[in-house]
């Protein structure tokens, strides 16, 4: 009997419409739709698409939790053996939706989940730990290449075959360590690598240690008196009660908070969500982490033009590099759109 697959696509690939239809509500059809046809062909009868979920990208992005729950409910009765989402190529919101649904399905049903994305799709960094994501070209022109690779990987997973390295199978590295027997003793591999390093030859370490790249400094602020300065912190400062439920560590989101008219942070108004340090002092007076009071003084005195009326907060503690990068990129885009000149980033 063929394996049962549920396929997830967005409104565009379902032929419903483009951006104007992006708030299309999630629905499920007992049919093969859009790129599902190519998938079906690639399965050669070994697996069948029993249902297709269609959801608008904007709808999913703005109702992530609700839509996820709703779609999980729709999928359940079809008892899938695997879940395939996309491919999303370089479409950011579509990729994020595919990744989020893969992660949710894997957690809920414990079945293989497969997607396909361009490596720079933000969905990759966010969800590669939770899903098998086939590396695709950046546009739908790569459909012919992406779909057979996704189908092949899905069948391999469904049959319980051992997967090779990312480069061999075509998926994006998930960051999960797996044991294997090599042809040589670890000692010999180590001496081999040692000799290569001595000789200045290229070699591939078996365990890459974290490395850091650099960004060139931006030019200095010329006119501080008219500059808009924004505050960003990784110290977890948020309105008292942590309304957005930012996690104490390994944060999956950042907070954006309005401080229009706020001249001082107090124990009545603000606290820290950060679980990585003793919160006593920040909870007593959050200005100790995010110096709003002083910046308001400087604004009043005309030293700076303006303190930006929103601050941004994340929790540095245990937050993955990928998430931290994503937060940084999203925050700076909003700051640029709001006409901010420069940023003070505070960390604990």
């Amino acid at each position: 009997m063929a394996f049962r697959i549920v396929h997830y696509i967005n409104q565009f690939y379902a032929g419903i419409g483009g951006e104007e239809k992006a708030d299309y509500e999630p629905e499920i059809r007992e049919a093969v739709v859009g790129p599902g046809m190519a998938l079906k062909a690639a399965f050669k009868g070994e697996a069948e698409i029993v249902a297709t979920v269609i959801c608008g990208d904007s709808h999913f992005a703005s109702n992530m939790d609700d839509d996820t729950a709703k779609i999980l409910g729709m999928i359940r009765e079809y008892k899938p053996d695997a879940f395939i989402a996309g491919p999303a190529f370089n479409a950011g919101r579509y990729g994020t939706a595919c990744g989020a649904m893969c992660a949710a399905v894997a957690k809920e049903f414990g079945i293989p989940v497969i997607s396909g994305m361009y490596p720079e799709n933000p969905g990759v960094e966010m969800f590669r730990k939770y899903a098998w994501i086939i590396e695709t070209p950046d546009s739908a022109a790569g459909m012919r290449k992406a779909v057979p690779a996704m189908a092949k990987l899905a069948l391999k997973l469904l049959k319980g075959e051992t997967l090779g390295k990312p480069s061999e199978e075509g998926y994006i590295e998930r960051g999960i360590r797996k044991n294997m027997f090599y042809g040589k003793l670890a000692a010999q591999r180590c001496v081999d690598m040692f000799v290569s390093k001595l000789k200045g030859e290229t070699f591939e370490t078996e365990y890459p240690m974290p490395v850091f790249d650099r960004v060139d400094p931006q030019p200095a602020v010329k006119d501080m008196k008219h500059a808009v300065i924004a505050l960003v912190t990784s110290g977890g400062i948020c309105p008292k009660g942590n309304p957005d439920h930012i996690e104490a560590s390994s944060a999956s989101k950042f907070g954006e908070y309005d401080i229009t008219g706020v001249n001082d942070l107090t124990s009545e108004t603000h606290c820290t969500a950060h679980g990585g340090y003793d919160a006593t002092y920040a909870d007593q007076d959050a200005d100790r982490v995010l110096p709003v009071d002083v910046l308001r003084d400087l604004e009043r005195e005309g030293v700076i033009g303006k303190l930006h009326n929103k601050f941004y907060t994340t929790v540095g503690n245990g937050t993955s590099v990928a998430n931290a990068k994503r937060f940084g990129a999203e925050i700076v885009n909003r700051l640029v759109n709001d006409g901010v000149t420069a940023v003070i980033l505070t960390s604990t």
């Binding site: 931006q218 910046l295 940084g328 940023v343 505070t346 604990t348």
Partner: protein
């Protein structure tokens, strides 16, 4: 995170553990007081504490107004 911001806007990283800031790739760095209270010192009076905080923030603004070509730690 600091690097992503620096790609588009000048940013000063104000933090207690300078080597970590250096490792994550900040360019303008201002050392602060202590991990649980970078801009404060609970052993001081509120007035002294705020004066201390102000001097740190002013140092941060100075860093933002200084042209640099490489990672720089502003200690005064």
């Amino acid at each position: 995170m600091v690097k992503e911001i620096e790609r588009k806007l000048p940013v000063v990283h104000m933090c207690t553990i300078v080597p970590i800031s250096q490792t994550v790739g900040a360019n303008r760095i201002v050392p602060t007081i202590a991990i649980p209270h970078p801009f404060g010192d609970p052993s001081k009076t509120p007035e002294e504490e705020k004066a201390l905080r102000r001097s740190l923030v002013e140092r941060g603004l100075k860093a933002l107004q200084t042209e640099i070509t490489e990672q720089t730690v502003f200690t005064e």
